[in-house]
């Protein structure tokens, strides 16, 4: 390196070759290090056994109209609400431009009487209240998150408070009229 000829700098074929080798070695080293690191980074992602627990079947026959239950799915609660006629109407009558995260009610349910949403507040992950009878359901008759005061409506949509999005709708399929598979 110290013997670099100043005057013929770029034209020295020897130096070009050395630069190329240095760059190529460095590049291979960096990519190789990155590839060697990836297994460690990826080992922190959900493992196969965690992914395998990805679906759950629920029997709906013993949830009376007007009540709701919580079931565990992927370590988080899912709210299943058997909605009343009035709750369905409330959800459908809201003008979309009044919503923080505009989404029509029929885009969020498969059967009107069953609302199925992930019971995790989209703000910072608390469990909103309103599933068990007698709990505060917020100003829009859905759910109320006690942590930072988010109100959700009868379609699980965010109406007021710091949460940015509607309660997430999980993928689910009705196996029969009274049983559903979530996930």
């Amino acid at each position: 390196m110290s013997q670099t000829v100043q005057s013929s700098g770029d034209h020295n074929p020897d130096e070009n070759r050395r630069d190329f080798l240095t760059l190529a070695t460095t590049a291979v080293g960096v990519v190789g290090t990155g590839m060697a690191l990836w297994p460690f980074v990826d080992s922190m992602n959900p493992s196969k056994d965690v992914l395998a627990l990805a679906s759950v079947e629920v029997n709906l026959s013993n949830i009376p109209v007007g009540q709701a239950i919580k079931v565990m799915w992927r370590g988080k609660p899912v709210f299943i609400r058997h909605r009343t006629e009035r709750e369905i109407n409330e959800a459908e009558e809201v003008a979309l431009n009044e919503l923080v995260d505009p989404q029509a009610d029929d885009a969020r349910v498969e059967k009107k009487e069953w609302l199925i949403v992930v019971g995790v507040c989209t703000h910072l992950g608390c469990i909103p209240m309103g599933t068990a009878t007698g709990e505060a359901r917020g100003d829009y008759d859905g759910w109320y998150c006690p942590c930072h005061g988010s109100h959700y409506d009868t379609s699980g949509r965010i109406r007021r408070g710091p949460a940015p999005k509607n309660l997430e709708v999980p993928t689910y399929t009705f196996l029969t009229d009274t049983s559903v598979r979530i996930g």
């Binding site: 980074v41 922190m44 992602n45 959900p46 493992s47 965690v50 919580k70 565990m72 992927r74 370590g75 988080k76 609660p77 995790v120 703000h123 910072l124 992950g125 608390c126 469990i127 209240m129 998150c145 006690p146 942590c147 930072h148 005061g149 710091p162 949460a163 940015p164």
Partner: protein, 422 residues
């Protein structure tokens, strides 16, 4: 500084091969220290003492702790009830975390008051901020390990902060959790990292002390050491002063450990974690309250950036801003003792952080100190505003506009003058 001559043959043999004894002699014995250091200069060594205490008590806790969601809570209760002196070791570790933050917060405010962040001590200051960040990560992960309600929900709320970032947010949170919620994989990795981080902190402390010893200690006058008359050797003068301070600090520490071990904690953490029930009021440990208040006070959108992301950015910014204060502070004078205007703003800032802490502990819709009409959220927003105004407006402006008092010619002169006035 001449190298010491060792008379003992064994010491000399070792030192000739690895000059570790010379190095220790140089940095803990003859290190020339300003002769006017007040008790405010005790908190660095106190923090170091607490770090060692935390590492030792932690190592013994691990001998009886089980990092699994089904056993973590019970293994901690077993430590409390069945393990010989387990209660003592755990209470030392639990309260030690608070003592660490008390010592470090005082240490930081000391640095802010006496301008210890100014040239040539910027690197020293930066390493200090890195230590604070590492401590916060360590304390957060440690609090999750007992797997109580506050452990679980604190972990849930804090990890969810990262979902605020666009695009990468959700995959990032899943990666942090190792699943789709805070669960066993999360507990395991937090345990692993909680064991690792103290040693990272220890490494940073070595760099911190190294930087300190190359730029030398600041002092209450903010005037550098100029002649040998300005300094005294670290030993015995400051070893004995640090030891005396340690004695006082240990009385304070022990008072919590033996008489109010749960005073600084939250009772809900003695309820086992339940992923289906959120406690009505989630609060972090006291040392995070001011930052939590900043996070929560942003409940509005600016330029289409959602409130959640803004809150997270503001919270991180509240610490990151400390990195640039060596340049935000335009005053040539280090010590606030000689800054008649800035001094008041400094104390206003101290009060501001306490107000933020109070706001962080209360529900947003409560009234501030019971004052009708003044909501906690509003007070939190005002004090968040002042937090940033202090660094971004007050520091640059006051430095330019203020007329500082005349500085003493040297440390020695100021000591002799104060002695004559006494």
């Amino acid at each position: 500084m001449s190298a010491p001559v060792w008379n003992n043959k064994v010491v000399k043999w070792v030192d000739d091969r690895l000059p570790i004894i010379s190095m220790l002699h140089h940095s803990a014995y003859e290190y020339p220290t300003p002769k006017n250091l007040s008790y405010m200069w005790n908190f660095g060594s106190l923090a170091g003492f607490v770090l060692v205490t935390m590492i030792l008590s932690g190592i013994f806790l691990v001998m009886n702790y089980t990092p699994h969601t089904s056993m973590a809570f019970e293994s901690v209760e077993r430590i409390m009830r069945d393990v010989n002196y387990g209660w003592l070791i755990r209470y030392i570790h639990m309260n030690g975390a608070s003592m660490f933050f008390i010592a470090v917060f005082i240490h930081i405010f000391r640095g802010l008051y006496y301008g210890s962040y100014k040239a040539p001590r910027e690197m020293l200051w930066w390493i200090g901020i890195l230590i604070l960040l590492a401590m916060m990560a360590t304390a957060f992960m440690g609090y999750v390990l007992p797997w109580g309600q506050m452990s679980f929900w604190g972990a849930t709320v804090i990890t969810n902060l990262f979902s605020a970032f666009p695009v990468i947010g959700d995959p990032l949170v899943t990666w942090l959790w190792g699943g789709f919620s805070v669960d066993n994989p999360t507990l395991n990795r937090f345990f692993s990292l909680h064991y690792l981080m103290p040693f990272v902190i220890l490494g940073l402390v070595v760099l911190h002390v190294w930087a300190l010893h190359s730029v030398r200690s600041n002092n209450p006058t903010g005037v550098e050491i100029k002649t040998p008359q300005d300094s005294i050797p670290f030993h015995p003068y400051y070893t004995i002063k640090d030891l005396f301070g340690l004695g006082v600090f240990l009385i304070f520490f022990s008072a919590f450990v033996f008489f109010a071990p749960d005073f600084l904690g939250h009772p809900d953490n003695y309820i086992p974690a339940n992923p289906l029930v959120t406690p009505p009021h989630i609060v972090p440990e006291w040392y995070f309250l001011p930052f939590y208040a900043i996070l929560r006070s942003i409940d509005f959108t600016i330029f289409g950036i959602p409130a959640k992301l803004l809150g997270v950015l503001a919270m991180f910014a509240s610490i990151v801003i400390l990195f640039v204060i060596p340049w935000l502070d335009t005053s040539k004078v280090r010590s606030s003792k000689f800054r008649p205007v800035y001094k008041w703003f400094f104390w206003l800032f101290v009060i501001d952080t306490f107000v933020l802490g109070y706001c962080g502990a209360k529900a947003p819709d409560d009234y501030f100190m019971g004052i009708e009409g003044l909501k906690v959220i509003v007070m939190g927003q005002l004090s968040t505003l002042y937090y940033f105004v202090h660094f971004l407006v007050v520091m640059p402006l006051v430095g330019k506009l203020e007329r500082p008092k005349p500085l003493p010619a040297s440390i020695s002169e100021s000591v002799l003058k104060e002695g004559a006035n006494a």
